[in-house]
């Protein structure tokens, strides 16, 4: 039996000791995708921050690749790729250079070739030499997503990856995530998009402050669609 990529047992997350949702339990294996769904403020992003080591859990157990989460270790950072809502860029680095920094920083040998492929895939070829300040918010989002795929990984953590993407790009992202699973990568994502959840996730965890519920992707998509806008 292969070891799970991520495992949470009665995980409590929150700020200042106050949990934002009920204890979270899940296990995620290679080649699988788990979606975290729920209304705004239900704790999806907070759980993701704990998984990538940016927030210390206030209770329960959380392991990634069989070890307690410690993002200070090189092994953890080599294995976990995350795309949060960080809208921050080096003002002097072009789009292509940002991607090269990530790829080369992770030891990818033919980094420029990989960067070219990602620029093409994420529709950023025309903006390769542009500085991030000149990009639209959607283009910056595509840059962040491309960076998530520019490096080796065992676990891909995405916080609402559908944000600011047009339908075409969302469809391309869906295909990319399915390919990720097929290659043995695990995906943990928070999402409000029923179609993305239905297409990519194997299961979904509906977060709530009273009780968390493990759902099928289809049920989760239906549940998301019911959440008032």
């Amino acid at each position: 039996m292969p070891q799970p990529v991520a495992r949470a047992q009665d995980l409590l997350v929150g700020y200042g000791g106050a949990p934002v949702c009920a204890p979270v339990t899940f296990t995620l294996h290679p080649g699988r995708a788990l979606a975290l769904v729920g209304s705004n403020g239900s704790g999806k992003s907070t759980v993701l921050r704990a998984v990538i080591g940016l927030l210390e859990p206030s209770g329960g157990k959380l392991t990634v690749l069989g070890r307690e989460v410690d993002e200070r270790t090189v092994e953890f950072r080599s294995a976990v790729s995350s795309v949060l809502d960080d809208d921050a860029y080096f003002p002097s680095l072009s789009v292509a250079e940002h991607l090269y920094l990530v790829a080369r920083g992770h030891g990818v040998l033919d980094a420029w070739d990989r960067v070219d492929e990602l620029l093409d895939e994420f529709g950023l070829v025309d903006h390769a030499a542009a500085l991030p300040v000149s990009l639209s918010s959607g283009q910056r989002r595509r840059l962040l997503l491309a960076a998530g795929f520019a490096r080796p990984r065992s676990l891909l953590v995405l916080d609402e990856p559908e944000q600011r993407l047009d339908r075409r790009m969302l469809s391309a992202l869906t295909d990319r995530l399915l390919a990720e699973k097929a290659s043995g990568g695990a995906v943990l994502m928070a999402s409000h998009d029923p179609e993305l959840v239905r297409a990519v996730a194997d299961r979904a965890l509906h977060l709530d402050d009273e009780r968390n519920e493990l759902l099928s992707a289809a049920d989760a998509a239906t549940r998301i669609a019911r959440i008032p806008a």
Partner: protein
């Protein structure tokens, strides 16, 4: 093995344990290409820096020009500051042969001031990190699987060096202005200040590296600041006379330097184990604070230093029992903000002591000494009391949610600062009254002056952003942006003009009924100006009336 069909009912959390493929836990499962050796952190830093240099568009000549300009400005500023310090030193009267029962010697006061400075430094170090990674660095560097030491070294050096320079400068100015009789003594004192300041910031860095929360380090600094005030009172009431404040001898300074080197080595060794969450928080605050300093925005600086260092969740929720409507809601919210910021409460307490301290130090108990102490203390107290107004200015939507006219909001925002500054003024002016020999009229003057301080606080909090498009005026200290100075002077202008009767009373060391009447009129004028929602200066409004280019936009409705 494939996963369960979509739409299947899950049987429980462990259903997801079913693997989809073979065990791939040996190295990353997915890779965009062949992976080789990891680059060094230094090469990553250099790659980023090289791109910045390539696109900066700055030639070597312009770079040298900037360095020359900066060096000259700093040198002129330092020379002017030490010139003023020497003048102060020369104008100080000699210490009395027999000190009064309640008094503080100048060396003792300087000792207390140094303790307070240490507290401020620790508090600032805690709030700013000390080590952090800014937005881009934290997003793009910290996730790389390279040692963090190489990435963070420049950031880890920055604050100890800045702190050491600031500490050395403060000690040098205090010593040269109040104590030092030889340049050698002042140099030794400055060296000691430099070393102690560096040690304090490095200790705060070690605390950060072992996971001590930033707010706890900041709290230690705040406590030291409060203790310095208590110590001053105890020393003054006890009539403790310290004849001289010793400066450390050279060898002791050498030991201090050695300690700094050891701590710097310890910090360097711990950079790899700095957690990203701490680096992100600190970097965010430092970036905000740096931006505020560069744009000369003291309000933004205050917000940067306050945010993130307070407890994220309160132990109890205020029920606001006294709230009866929008007006009381606004006042109650302002009061809650002040009450929940221990730093500002400590500042108010310290500010109340400063004028009294000036009156019990024989060499400072004169008109210039007391006047300066009231101005400094009033500035500190006013800044501490204006947290609610500053928050309101930053989030005007909060004000607009209440059914209150913009002018009414401004007036209500004066209530809490008014109350806090009334307490401050009564305590401070009680000391002045004792110094002048007749406390009662000084207390009345304090009551009449408090609304002016409150109005100035609100006016300063709601001042518009700096207008950088206005012309620069060349001064010996460098170019002065007039569009910034006119904005920064909003608030202090009320203190200078509407407290004129108080300043004259201080100069004469005597309060007359006429001064009280005039101060009442000054308070009324300050209240009217503080309630105004116009943001342009008189000159701007004249320009607009004549159809000329306005210097600043009129105030947004509701602000």
């Amino acid at each position: 093995m494939s996963g369960p069909a979509r739409g299947d009912e899950p049987e429980g959390p462990d259903e997801l344990t079913e693997p989809a493929g073979p065990d791939r836990d040996r190295g990353p499962a997915v890779s965009p290409g062949e992976v080789g050796d990891l680059p060094s952190a230094r090469s990553i830093r250099r790659f980023t820096a090289a791109a910045g240099k390539a696109r900066a568009g700055a030639s070597l000549t312009s770079l040298l020009g900037d360095v020359y300009y900066a060096v000259i400005s700093v040198a002129i500023g330092a020379a002017a500051a030490f010139g003023i310090a020497q003048q102060v030193r020369a104008s100080l009267p000699p210490a009395p042969r027999v000190a009064p029962a309640t008094s503080l010697s100048l060396p003792a006061l300087v000792g207390v001031a140094l303790l307070a400075t240490a507290g401020v430094l620790v508090s600032l170090a805690g709030r700013l990190g000390p080590v952090g990674a800014g937005g881009a660095e934290s997003a793009w560097w910290l996730a790389l699987p390279v040692g963090r030491r190489g990435l963070l070294r420049p950031a880890a050096r920055r604050l100890p060096i800045l702190g050491a320079l600031a500490g050395g400068a403060v000690v040098a100015l205090l010593d040269a202005g109040l104590l030092g009789d030889t340049p050698r003594r002042t140099l030794l004192a400055a060296g000691a200040g430099l070393v102690v300041a560096a040690l304090l910031v490095l200790l705060a860095t070690v605390a950060q590296s072992v996971g001590v929360p930033r707010r706890r380090v900041a709290l230690v600094g705040d406590v030291v600041l409060a203790l310095s005030a208590v110590l001053a009172v105890v020393l003054a009431l006890g009539g403790t006379q310290l004849a001289e404040l010793p400066v450390p001898p050279g060898p002791l300074l050498g030991v201090g330097v050695l300690l700094v080197a050891v701590l710097a080595w310890v910090v360097d060794g711990r950079l790899d184990s700095m957690p990203a969450r701490s680096l992100r928080e600190s970097g965010s605050v430092a970036t905000q604070a740096m931006g505020a300093v560069v744009s000369l925005d003291s309000r933004e600086l205050g917000r940067a230093l306050t945010a993130g260092s307070s407890r994220p969740v309160r132990r109890w929720v205020s029920r606001f029992h006294g709230v009866r409507g929008p007006a009381t809601a606004l006042v109650a919210a302002d009061l809650a903000q002040l009450r929940r910021s221990p730093r500002h409460v400590v500042q108010l307490a310290v500010a109340a002591l400063i004028p009294w301290l000036a009156t019990v130090v024989p060499q400072l108990a004169n008109v210039p000494g007391v006047l300066v102490s009231v101005l400094v203390a009033g500035g500190i107290a006013s800044s501490a009391a204006g947290e609610g107004a500053r928050a309101g200015e930053m989030n005007p939507i909060i004000d607009r949610m209440l059914p209150l006219a913009a002018k009414t909001v401004r007036r209500l925002r004066m209530v809490v600062p008014g109350a806090a500054l009334l307490v401050w003024a009564l305590l401070a002016f009680a000391g002045l009254g004792r110094w002048a020999g007749d406390p009662a009229p000084w207390l009345v003057l304090a009551v009449l002056g408090a609304p002016v301080w409150a109005a100035a606080t609100v006016r300063a909090a709601y001042r518009p952003g700096p207008n950088w498009s206005k012309p620069l005026v060349s001064t010996p200290f460098g170019a002065l942006p007039t569009g910034v100075t006119t904005v920064v002077s909003r608030g202090p202008d009320l203190v200078v003009l509407c407290l004129l009767p108080t300043w004259i009373a201080l100069l004469l060391r005597h309060v007359t009924p006429t001064f009280l009447m005039l101060q009442l009129a000054g308070a009324a004028i300050a209240f009217a100006v503080g309630s105004s929602i116009a943001t342009g200066t008189l000159m701007d409004r004249l320009f607009e009336a004549s159809g000329g280019a306005p210097g600043s936009k009129p105030a947004a409705a509701g602000r």
